[in-house]
């Protein structure tokens, strides 16, 4: 099952973009414009979609001709690429993920996919699931940096790690009986803590881009 890596599923969807000469701007540009307005991190719509580790949306115009001796080829259409690492063991898990998407963020899905051929809308969840699965291609290989844990488990683990590290730093060297009492109290409090929202556990040091959105660590350019 190349789409699966433990409990994480690597979803790849290629949706052909409408080719309508009368559309202004063209449908692919309308998708690009919409995607450019979407926030990343905890305010991303996909942070509200249950079971999403990370995802990205890309508009693919065409294959790039690199010159002789390559032969010049073209795609039949422009495509919207949707890649998502999600919690789903097996095909049934995928369907429930897609249904969750349709339920959580239908307005965003419609705003993007309404520019694609044959898109039925997210209001009809069954038709939406059928459509997405029809556009799916096998992932074969993907980078899963989540240690075979679900989104919930990962968030809980990060929360616990941070809280315990803070606890240790504040309490090291404390007398044993007092430490034990404080730890029991700490553990009870931690267990009662609500799950952190997706996208809230990362580094806060990233600088903002021109739109004021955090983009995390800067990359160095073309040499990596």
């Amino acid at each position: 099952m190349p789409n699966n890596n433990g409990c994480v599923y690597g979803l790849t969807i290629l949706s052909p973009i409408l080719n309508d000469e009368k559309a202004t701007p063209s449908h692919d540009l309308q998708i690009r414009n919409y995607l450019a307005t979407l926030p990343t991190g905890e305010t991303s719509p996909f942070a509200h979609a249950p079971g999403t580790h990370l995802c990205r949306l890309v508009v693919m115009d065409d294959v790039i001709y690199v010159g002789m001796p390559a032969c010049e080829e073209h795609l039949k259409s422009k495509y919207l690429i949707f890649e998502s690492n999600l919690d789903a063991a097996g095909g049934a898990g995928l369907e429930s993920y897609l249904r969750g998407l349709a339920q959580a963020i239908p307005q965003h899905l419609d705003a993007v996919w309404s520019h694609c051929v044959g898109y039925p809308g997210a209001a009809n969840a069954e038709a939406f699931v059928r459509y997405m699965k029809a556009c799916q291609i096998e992932t074969t290989f993907f980078f899963a940096a989540v240690n075979d844990k679900t989104v919930t488990e990962t968030l809980r683990a990060l929360q616990t790690q941070k809280a315990v590290a803070d606890f240790i730093a504040r309490h090291q060297g404390m007398e044993h009986a007092k430490l034990k009492a404080e730890f029991l109290e700490f553990a009870t409090r931690l267990n009662a803590e609500p799950l952190p929202r997706p996208g809230t556990m990362g580094s806060r040091t990233g600088e903002s881009d021109a739109w004021g959105r955090g983009r995390g660590i800067k990359t160095g350019g073309h040499n990596e």
Binding site: A165, Q172, T205
Partner: protein
């Protein structure tokens, strides 16, 4: 066949011996000369600058072996991208340099984590202004040898009116009872284990090249240090055109690192009292070596000069048997910047992230009992040489100094070099025993602050000649 790969590497090394007369000596060798003075030059006129280089050329120290004895002084030179532009090189050549070098270090601040206290606004005026065109590095066996060589070079500059001297920086090894040491201001013994490269003849010791599957160490590909040769991926490093301008040259990241000695001592004193292993062991855990240089991995409980003095042992260790960091913490400085086998795959993942370090302390050394202040002018001039600044120096700085994910340490930064700004933590892994307990250091100040620097190109002797004669032609 054990050691076969290492044997093959040695064979190739002999076959591809480099032309040491064409490579600046500073690139191939740490001179071990006690005194240094770095002049920062600004070129006002291309013709006069060319004349200066022509006059300097015979003075430049090459990588030739010093079989006839050590010289009393050395001279080397390197250029910023602005400096090369001042020679009025063809635009086709200037734009063929790697982007990070064209930009210079100041514009790479966000990538390098040079923000907050380390941001360019806090740098020395020299480096904020961006007028530095060249670094002229002079080293001397004695301070009078340094003065003599400096005077000669300044006379050449004056005579040709080839450059304006913007500023200079003195640096020197700590001399204890007449003997130069490799101690830096925090009291650590520095300067272990620069990498070996194919074709570079130097006295070599295990632990300084790349780790082979059989556990032996072999030289890194020449192209990790020098332009014009294959690197560890079998590719030629990104280099300017024409090829002959680039070949036998390299890039240097120059960083003036101010050391807050008072903060360091106070922090170590306070936490050394709380940490069960004691102050000296805590100091060792920060770095991965006891302050006398003994690697924690080989001697976790005490300093051991027998190891430090033995080239077969002082850099010859791996971390595979210490996965949880109870001997050498996973976040210790030497384990971060040279993880050896820590990431598995026989260390293959790190072979393209190595840099050659040069550098000397500056400012007055202070005895353990001498009162010090963070505002005292002292630190280290750190110079990293590599074929690809972006892939090597910048990667190490961004990912291994200012971040911890590769070491599974989340956002933790290097204890001593990290830009902590009063936050962050450093975890000393322990085994639960009385003298090696786990410990967490928090509320970390910046023990080291960046005061400026830039990216430089260190050309070959041939390339310097081309600059001097105005013969750089990208066609």
């Amino acid at each position: 066949m054990p050691g076969a790969e290492a044997e093959e590497s040695r064979r190739v090394a002999i076959m591809s011996k480099l032309n040491e007369t064409d490579i600046q000596g500073f690139v191939l060798r740490g001179y071990n000369l006690t005194y240094a003075r770095y002049f920062y030059l600004h070129f006002e006129d291309a013709a006069r600058a060319r004349k200066l280089i022509a006059r300097l050329l015979p003075e430049i120290t090459t990588g030739q072996r010093w079989d006839g004895g050590k010289p009393r002084s050395t001279v080397n030179i390197a250029f910023t991208h602005r400096g090369l532009a001042a020679f009025e090189l063809p635009i086709a050549t200037l734009i063929s340099f790697p982007v990070e070098f064209q930009q210079g270090m100041k514009k790479r601040a966000a990538i390098l984590g040079d923000t907050g206290l380390n941001a360019p606004e806090h740098w020395d005026e020299l480096w904020r202004e961006g007028r530095v065109h060249a670094w002229l590095g002079i080293q001397g066996l004695t301070s009078s040898a340094l003065d003599t060589a400096s005077t000669e070079m300044l006379a050449l500059i004056e005579e040709t009116r080839g450059a304006v001297v913007l500023d200079s920086q003195d640096a020197a090894s700590q001399v204890i009872s007449g003997k130069a040491t490799t101690k830096e201001h925090f009291g650590y013994t520095d300067g272990f284990g620069n990498p070996d490269y194919l074709g570079v003849e130097r006295s070599t010791q295990p632990g300084q090249g790349k780790l082979m599957p059989d556990g032996s160490w072999a030289p890194l590909a020449t192209g990790e240090l020098l332009l014009g040769y294959a690197d560890e991926a079998g590719e030629l490093p990104v280099a300017p055109i024409p090829h002959i301008l680039a070949s036998n040259g390299t890039f240097m990241a120059y960083r003036k690192l101010h050391q807050n000695l008072a903060s360091f001592r106070a922090y170590l004193e306070e936490h050394g009292r709380q940490y069960g292993g004691g102050k000296e062991k805590l100091a060792a855990k920060f770095i991965g070596r006891w302050r006398d240089g003994t690697p924690l991995e080989l001697s976790p409980d005490a300093e051991n000069q027998a190891i430090v003095q033995d080239p077969q042992r002082s850099t010859n260790f791996t971390y595979g048997a210490d996965g949880d960091g109870t001997r050498c913490p996973v976040g210790a400085h030497i384990r971060r910047v040279h993880p050896r086998d820590t990431f598995g795959f026989n260390g293959k993942l790190i072979d393209r992230r190595r840099v050659t370090r040069r550098g000397l302390p500056y400012g007055k050394f202070a005895d353990e009992n001498e009162p010090v202040s963070d505002s005292d002018d002292r630190g280290i001039i750190f110079m990293a040489l590599n074929a690809n600044l972006s892939r090597q120096f910048e990667f190490v700085q961004q990912q291994w100094i200012e971040y911890g994910n590769d070491a599974r340490l989340g956002n933790d930064k290097d204890m001593l070099l990290g830009n902590h700004g009063g936050h962050g933590k450093f975890v000393v892994q322990g085994d639960g025993s009385q003298t090696n307990p786990p410990y967490v250091c928090t509320a970390l100040p910046n023990f080291v602050e960046l005061r400026g620097g830039d990216y430089f190109f260190i050309p070959s002797i041939t390339a310097l000649g081309m600059l001097a004669m105005g013969l750089v032609d990208p066609r």
